[in-house]
């Protein structure tokens, strides 16, 4: 039996974590949850997941960005696929989040709520 791929989910909304975990487990992944950025970065190092999904809108707007940068800066984080989650609200109308050019590389931008099939399709594209 092949081992399950591991996904780290970082979001400060417990319910969002739980709901998304269900979808990911149904998709056959092993899921690790972090409720804040600091825990997220620590778990990244201890768990060494195959992919991480990071919410941009934790606590302050910058936190997701700083988590993403810290993860990308680690040895294992250089090439691991990283997704970010965003909600359109704070940017005003039509301005769904697009990472600016100086952003660390992001493999996919997902908008909340994420459709189960979209989420699993994006992940499958990265993890094969």
């Amino acid at each position: 039996m092949t081992t399950k791929k591991r996904i780290l989910l970082i979001d400060d909304d417990k319910d969002f974590l739980y709901a998304t975990k269900i979808i990911l487990e149904k998709g056959g992944y092993e899921v690790f949850l972090a409720e804040d950025g600091k825990t997220g970065v620590e778990m990244w190092k201890s768990v060494a997941p195959d992919l991480a999904i990071i919410d941009m809108m934790m606590e302050t707007w910058g936190e997701g960005f700083s988590v993403l940068s810290k993860i990308r800066a680690t040895d294992t984080g250089k090439d691991t696929p990283l997704f970010i989650l965003s909600a359109v609200d704070l940017q005003g109308p039509y301005n769904a989040f697009e990472p600016p050019p100086e952003f660390p590389r992001v493999n996919a931008v997902l908008h909340k709520p994420v459709k189960a099939e979209d989420l699993l399709r994006y992940i499958a594209r990265e993890l094969g």
């Binding site: 998304t20 269900i22 979808i23 189960a116």
Partner: protein
Amino acid sequence: MMTTQKPLILIIDDEEALRDGCRQALEKAGYAVLTVGEGIEGIKIARETKPAIAFVDLKMPRISGMEVIEILYRDIPDIVLIMITGYATIVSAVEAMQKGAYDYLPKPFSPDQLRAVAKRGMDHHNLKIETKKLREEKERMEKTFITFVSHEMRSPLVVIRQYIEALNAIAGDRFDKDVQDIIERCGSRIQDLEKMIEHWLDISRIGKGTFGLKKAPLSLTHIIKRSTEEMAPFLIEKGIVLETDVPEKLPETSGDEESLIRVFINIIGNAVKYTPEKGRITISAEGDKGRVTVSISDTGTGIPSDKLPFIFEPFFRVRGKEERDRGSGLGLTFCKKIMEVHGGEIEAVSKEGEGTTFLLKFPAQGQPGQ
């Protein structure tokens, strides 16, 4: 501002004895006092030191007290101006008040009178500052409120929809058709609520001037084309015929293309909603001097004449609780606000059972065809 700092009063008067008398009386009452014998210098000092109160003598050489009052009132928003005058007439007092003076003090006056007027002026000054602070605080709170609502109200809805996704992922294939229906309906009602919040936020943003409107030259012909393209699938679905009579060149207008497309989509969407299958929607446009008028007509159910005046009001609904009447209740309010920001107008004429026509009027530059 430091609390230990004494409130500053400036005396502008050409009479030296009066200046010294005022200084002594006011310093005794705990004020810091600056004096100057002439208007131009007085204005200069007032601009530099921003006193809480300025006493200004009406009759001075070079520049009159009336002019000084006018300039200080314009330049220093929170200053309280009090006119000193030797020949207090009602006429000059009224004129000074009109120019921005708060009070006047007729010569001769006693130190007590001076202090009483200064105290009243100071109270007024503090009130002005307080009012300004409160107004700024209110504006700040309104802005924060929009941000707060957008995040705090939408988050739970997002989570509920995520749970519905999760529910379907776990057991979707095991649900009976009627259970699936219920779940789907829940999802769609939540989506409606999200839309309502979004529209409401848009409208608040327009009101606060924080809605990201661009001001660029634009072609209404192009906007109509893009909007109808976007709505084409819904028209086809109901077998509705779309006729457009829009000139290739209309007088140029300016504004925000994306929000105007939303206006058109809204109006066309309503037309589709209330027009029976195989009906017809007609869009025409014409430009004349300084104006472009776009008309969007349908052969739908129409709006009763007693309801027509209220259709642009937020949350107003023409009909009952039928499924197709569901919506944010803010669509037309949004359209009206956007048209207003563009310096335009929106109107509706309707006859029950025959159809409705929306007229969108835009200000335009130049002549038709240019």
